[in-house]
Amino acid sequence: MSTQRVRSKAKIALNATLVLIALAFVFVVVLLPLIVVIYEAAQEGWSAYYLAITDSDAKAAIYLTLLVAAIAVPVNMVFGVCAAWLITKHDFRGKDWLIAFIEIPFSVSPVVSGLVFVLLFGAHGWFGAWLQAHDIEIIFAVPGIVLATIFVTLPFVARQIIPLMNAQGRAAEEAALSLGASGWQTFWHVTLPDIRWALLYGVLLSLARAMGEFGAVSVVSGHIRGETNTMPLHVEVLYNDYNFVAAFAVASLLAGLALITLVFKSLLEWRHGNELKAQNNS
């Protein structure tokens, strides 16, 4: 009896220590930076904050970030669903290669991904001369930023729905086909409703990344103020100019966008946790 009580006391002490360590860690690594961002942004009062985020360069950066996300995320949503559908519902040669290719953007450094686009479409790149001859700007312009963002966020949607679709198997699709549905009807009425929450989850993850991407975008953007600076790049420019209040103001806005995404993501997990997990409850 007494040894048991001693043991359970020791267990409580151990649990408490672990919880404290975890909380302290989260505070230092996650919460403190967020607090610093907001604190620094508010250093010179709300008028300075307001000026910083309504500055014409800042507004251009916000607009560009939203524009790039609005193009890159839907493109990757469509691609991710197509790729996942091919991989999980069909057998074909080279399937393992496709799976490996989808993973590449996760394993390659973003700076390298950016450089690849410069080598392809830059002034001295493979298609540089042709593009110049036809007056098409990709590098140091919006198309390059969109391309780099698409590349970096490519795996998010596919990675989120492939395990779920694998676990669900093909029986429901085969049932739909045996009932006379066409391939498209099967996809629209059977496959898509089964993955909708996981798909939305993947879209939110890729949205957060698309808005926050720095490395790849930095290489292809050329940092032209008011033209090719996204929000993360604009923050860096302001910071390098010793304009700390403005830098943190824009950073706080970016963090705010990320937090909104996070809230939606948590809501999804809370409401539809079961359907996000790769579990099979026919």
Partner: protein, 238 residues
């Protein structure tokens, strides 16, 4: 509708699942494909359905070659081992699916579809469960829904893959009787796959015993029990 399978072969990677199988099934017959796991019985059923394409051989429905027709155009009903219900649809929507997917010109009115669903629910004895979702049903009820769904477009051929495999003994017996009654009433040709010989012999008019991708014996239950034609069949029945 009669079914004829002629010299069907099908291999998965190097493994031969079906080895030049031939089989003739008369209109309105009730046939069981019986055999141990890996004998090719499910593959044969899926080839007949059009869910799987054979490497060689032909499939005929009423003497018409359907070998190159996709599953949608074969006019069959298929019942899957694990029900394969659409989990985000109510029971009624599940059953109505085949009708709702018809091209607009052929599709019955919403009212007609509703009546048909009510009729099918009564046929499988689930009259009041139309508004439920599949995860609110027992295994036996789910399989009844799957059966009703497969019958919605009035197929001339009904194919069932281990339809009672996941159910307990009492529910199996009830469902067997229900299936046999529906077969008699609708006058359709029915083929079901099972590894349970008691089930095959109790239910079917004719039983095909498969082994290593070949049909060992195809006859009435009585004939097979009286005169097993090979060492394998004798051993399998023992």
């Amino acid at each position: 509708m009669s079914i004829e399978v002629r010299e069907i072969s099908k291999a998965f990677q190097a493994h031969a699942a079906l080895d030049a199988v031939s089989l003739k099934i008369k209109d309105r017959d009730f046939v069981a494909l019986l055999g141990p796991s890996g004998s090719g019985k499910t593959t044969l059923l899926r080839v007949i359905a059009g869910l799987e394409y054979a490497d060689a051989g032909r499939v005929y429905f009423s003497d018409i070659d359907v070998s190159n027709k996709p599953v949608q155009d074969r006019g069959i009903g298929f019942v899957f081992q694990n029900y394969a219900l659409f989990r985000h649809m109510t029971v009624a929507k599940n059953i109505a699916f085949g009708l709702a997917m018809l091209p607009r010109k052929l599709r019955p009115s919403a009212k007609t579809i509703e009546l048909r669903v009510t009729e099918l629910l009564a046929l499988v004895q689930l009259a009041d469960l139309g508004t439920r979702y599949p995860n609110q049903l027992s295994g036996g009820q789910r399989q009844r829904v799957a059966l009703a769904r497969a019958l919605a477009r009035e197929p001339k051929i009904l194919l069932l893959d281990e339809p009672f495999g996941a159910l307990d003994a009492k529910v199996r017996r009830e469902l067997r009787l229900a299936l046999r009654a529906i077969h008699e009433r609708l006058g359709i040709t029915t083929i079901f796959v099972t590894h349970d010989q008691e089930e095959a012999f109790a239910l079917a008019d004719q039983v095909a015993i498969l082994h290593n991708g070949k049909i060992e014996q195809f006859d009435t239950p009585g004939q097979i029990q009286q005169a097993p034609n090979s060492e394998f069949v004798r051993g399998f029945l023992a």
